[in-house]
Each structure stands twice: as structure tokens, then as C-alpha cells.
Symmetry: C2
Subunit: 308 residues, 2 copies
């Protein structure tokens, strides 16, 4: 196959797009698609300060790389989840990435935020699945870091495979409230929640992996040990079968969802509530009282335990 | 396991419902659920004349059996599709079923309706997949038979597995118009389309097969040769994996869809059009001109060929 752009020998074949690229043209294709997504969805402008949540995996490091390369003002945010050697290695990758490129990095760690806050500890004490606990922790500390650093936008490396797995999960239960809010951009709230954007939401995982490979980004190859065999990965396996049977099916599922959503399919389920300040941590929350994070994990008790 | 109703030894285990039944109690469970679906969805009343579309398979014969057993006025409709030995065998099963029970049966055959109208011929001449051609032919001749016989309602044996496969297909492409109309009851139109109902839409295929077995219904075991490996069966395979991973997932997918649909998720996509009489065959159709069936297959040419 020849490169769709320059007719040199193609090294990357994108079956869903029926296109092939040589390495330099692939980078060009990738960057242009990011630019287009950012503009089309009005994710951020040239002057905005972007906090990029980086886990040490291919997607988030590729995102940081491409946004920094496009000249955006980026700061990395690494949150240590306390998942043993996996967390140690991912932190090393992120720090090496930032140092080599001279990019600013904020490092925080759950264990340092309070005793018992590492993901495995929270999962055990709240009897939640680790991935559910981890999601709640990340939301809380990502929001806090974006707010404290007065960033304009928080960017995450969710790719198309991530988005369609969540979409499948929400759709199989017709969770109309979640469907109403699943979008490439989650707007800022008046109460202080920073805008959240997913510039890679239209890229297949293979595409971000290829970008990382071509750009020689050194990332953590292994998956989080808790993610092995979880429900999201089960949905990804189903969706991969679908994609094999019908190339482009995942992209179609996602884009047609965005079209239907844009046409108001779930509008009546999108209850725009006034947000309240959480009684415990002060972060914005949809219901009066304590936020989901503080309800899950009684930080007051922790704080008093630390003070005594 | 013991029978959930009478505590005798259970012979049927319904994993999705976490229930078990002995044979007599299973029949009782099955009939009650049909009664409930018919009442809940207002499918038909005691005086209505019901035309039951029967293919010779387990679902449609089980439906005819249970509706006749409940005392409803039922007539069977068998449409010969002209699919070789498969069609011959299915017709024999249907005729034997009707004769043994003394139930009225209308038999029509595509080949007798006009030359080249058997499903394999239509598929070949229109270059359609056989299942797409078959669907269009069945819709056309079922509607015609219901109208000609002045039936109040047309009942089909679609089970939960059928419904969720279609739902998955419509959802993966977010075909909002189809989603708006997918329901256990398709109302009658003022222009003469008979109401269509699916009393088995909440039964897993295993449940209708079990009913047919317990009632000793003799049906065609083999699948239509054209259905082997088609897209609907591919979706069924995916959905079976989901059900194995999470029993009840299919039922949840369907019922939550009906809930979301009932709450208006796709209401704005349900364009209630004035129906027009097809220029060629006179049946109601959504667009002026010829109906989908007549557009697919030029019946005028056929008729003139037969007349000459």
C-alpha cells in the first residue's frame, strides 16, 4: 500500500479510514486531526493554560506531546494512585518525559493526601471495585488541581476505544443521564469546575499507540493490574469483534451517538443543576451536603486522625 | 433446585430471573407472562380477531398455541418463501399443527403471487441480501393478508433475542427513526395498516423453546439457510457473550430501552407522516409514489408478463 498523502511506501494502515501513511505523513495526519477536533469542539484557544492529566501510558503522554508540539501552554499532572510497582514505574516514565522536554509537571500522590487514600486501600475500606474507587478519586483530585492552579482547561487522553466502551456500558442500561452528558467537552461550571476536554476521542487506540511509537515516546506498556478483566475491558473485547466484522463500526457508533445527542435525543435527561459547595471539602457537587468523593471516603475522620 | 411456585423438583432454570419451575408450573408462568404482556401493552382484547404469522419455527407455533389455548380467536398465516426444502418442511409443520388442533390457516406462497417472487429469485434480481429482500416481502404480504381478512391485529413470534439483536443494530448506528418506532405494539394506521404486536418480546429464546418442548410442539428445528452467518446472528452471538457475563443483561437492555423511549428519548424522531396509497399495489406507504416493496420489485412488469 502507498501513502495516501505522498505516495511513498505506507507503514501505517488505517482500516477504518481505508487510508495508509508513511511515518512523516502519519504524524501530519495525526496532528491535523487533533487540531480539527480542538477547533471543531471549541476545546481551547491559543492563550489557554492546559492541565494535561498524564498516567504514564501511551494516550496521555501522546496527548501531552502533541499539544506541546502545537505550541500550547501545557502543564502535566501526575496523580500517584498507590498501586505498587505499577504506580512507581508510571511516575518514572512521566518524570523522564517532562524532564527530557523541559515541560512543567505537577506531581501529587494519594498516599500523601491522607492515610488510607491509596486506591487499593480505598477500595478495600469502602468495599468498592478498585476501578470505581479510582475513578472517583481521580475526578476529585484532578478537579482540585485544575482549580488550585487556575487552569483554563483539563485535558485527558481518552481515546475512541475508551469512549465507545463507556458509551456501550451507558447504552446497555440506557443510563439517559450519563448519555446526556457524554461528550468530548464538559463545560466549566459557574461554581468552579474546570472545563474538561478529550482531544483524542475520535482516535482508535491503535492510532494513539502508533503516534507514540513513531514519536519514540517511552511509556508504561503494562496495563493497570486492577483493569485486567474488568467490565470496561470486557466491553472493549465485544467492540473489537464488532470492528473486525465491520471496520469503522466503533467510530460510527460514537459519531452517530454524538449526532443523535446533538439533535436532542437525551436533552430532557440533562438536568442542569445548581451546584453546591461540598460541606467537607468545598468542591462543587450536584446535591447539597457532601460530594461523591467525601461520601465515599470520610475525609473528616482522616483529617482529625492526622491532627491528633 | 426446587420449583419457585410449588417446591417440586425444578426442571427449567431461568438464570436471568433467578427462578426454577417444574413442567406444569413453567406452563403456568409462561401463560401468565403472555397475559400480562398483552394487557400491559394493550395488544388486543377478548373479541379481537388475531392473525398469527407462523413460519413453522418454535416461536410462532408456540405463540399460536398459547393464544389459542387462552381462548383467543386466532387464524394462522403461512407465507411460503420459496426457499427450497426448508420452505417445504416448514409448511408441512404448520399444516400438521393447524390440522391437529382444528385451527384455521391461511396459506399463501410467494411463487404463486407472481413469477420470480420467491425470496432467492428476488434477492438475485434485486442484488439484495436474501434477509433484506425477505423482510420487505413479508411486511408486504403480511399487511395485505391482514387487511384482506379484516383482522384486528397481526401477531408475530419475535422473542427477546430477536428484539435485542435489532435494538443493538439500530443503536450501533443510532438510527433514531427506527429507535423511535421499535416497540411491542405498532399501532394501526388510519390508512389501513393493521396493528402489529409481539407478545413474546420479553421472553428469551430459551423460554419459548422450552414452552414448545413442554407442549410437544413439532416445529422446524433447522434455521433458514440464508440466516446462517447473517448480521442479526452476529449480534446475537455478541449479546450471548454479554448475557453469559451478566445474566439478565439482554432483558435489562430491552426494558431500559422501552423505559427511555417511553420517557421521550426518541420522540422527536418519530415523524408521524400521513400515509399514501402506493401507486402500484395500493398498500399504505410513507412517501407518495410507490411503496418499498414495489420500488424493490417492479410488480407492474411482472403482472404484464403474466397477462401477455
Amino acid at each position: 500500500m502507498k501513502c495516501t498523502r505522498c505516495k511513498a511506501k505506507a507503514e501505517v494502515h488505517l482500516r477504518a479510514h481505508n487510508a495508509g501513511f508513511c511515518r512523516p505523513c502519519y504524524l501530519e495526519y495525526f496532528r491535523r486531526h487533533v487540531e480539527r477536533a480542538v477547533k471543531h469542539e471549541r476545546m481551547f484557544g491559543p492563550g489557554d493554560r492546559i492541565l494535561v492529566a498524564v498516567s504514564g501510558g501511551k494516550d496521555s503522554l501522546a496527548l501531552w506531546d502533541v499539544l506541546a508540539g502545537m505550541g500550547h501552554q501545557t502543564t502535566g499532572l501526575y496523580l500517584g494512585l498507590g498501586i505498587g510497582a505499577y504506580s512507581d514505574r508510571s511516575r518514572e516514565k512521566v518524570e523522564a518525559f517532562a524532564t527530557a522536554r523541559g515541560l512543567p509537571l505537577v506531581v501529587r500522590s494519594l498516599a500523601a493526601e491522607g492515610p488510607g487514600l491509596a486506591v487499593p486501600d480505598v477500595a478495600a475500606s469502602t468495599r468498592r471495585m478498585p476501578c470505581a474507587a479510582c475513578g472517583a478519586m481521580k475526578r476529585h483530585f484532578f478537579d482540585a488541581a485544575a482549580h488550585e492552579g487556575a487552569f483554563d482547561v483539563l485535558a485527558t487522553g481518552h481515546n475512541l476505544d475508551d469512549e465507545v466502551a463507556v458509551l456501550m456500558q451507558n447504552t446497555l442500561r440506557w443510563q439517559t443521564g450519563y448519555l446526556a452528558r457524554q461528550a468530548p467537552v464538559l463545560p466549566a461550571s459557574r461554581e468552579g469546575l474546570t472545563r474538561k476536554v478529550k482531544p483524542f476521542c475520535r482516535f482508535y487506540e491503535r492510532e494513539t499507540a502508533t503516534y507514540a511509537l513513531v514519536r519514540s515516546i517511552d511509556y508504561v506498556y503494562e496495563e493497570c493490574p486492577h483493569a485486567v478483566g474488568n467490565l470496561t475491558n470486557f466491553y472493549k473485547t465485544l467492540l473489537n469483534q464488532l470492528e473486525t466484522q465491520s471496520p469503522g463500526a466503533k467510530l460510527g457508533f460514537y459519531l452517530e451517538f454524538l449526532r443523535a445527542r446533538g439533535e436532542g435525543a437525551f436533552e430532557q435527561f440533562n438536568k442542569v443543576e445548581t451546584l453546591h459547595a461540598c460541606e467537607t471539602c468545598g468542591q462543587p457537587t450536584s446535591a447539597p451536603g457532601r460530594c461523591a468523593f467525601c461520601r465515599m471516603w470520610d475525609i473528616e475522620k482522616l483529617t482529625s486522625a492526622v491532627v491528633q
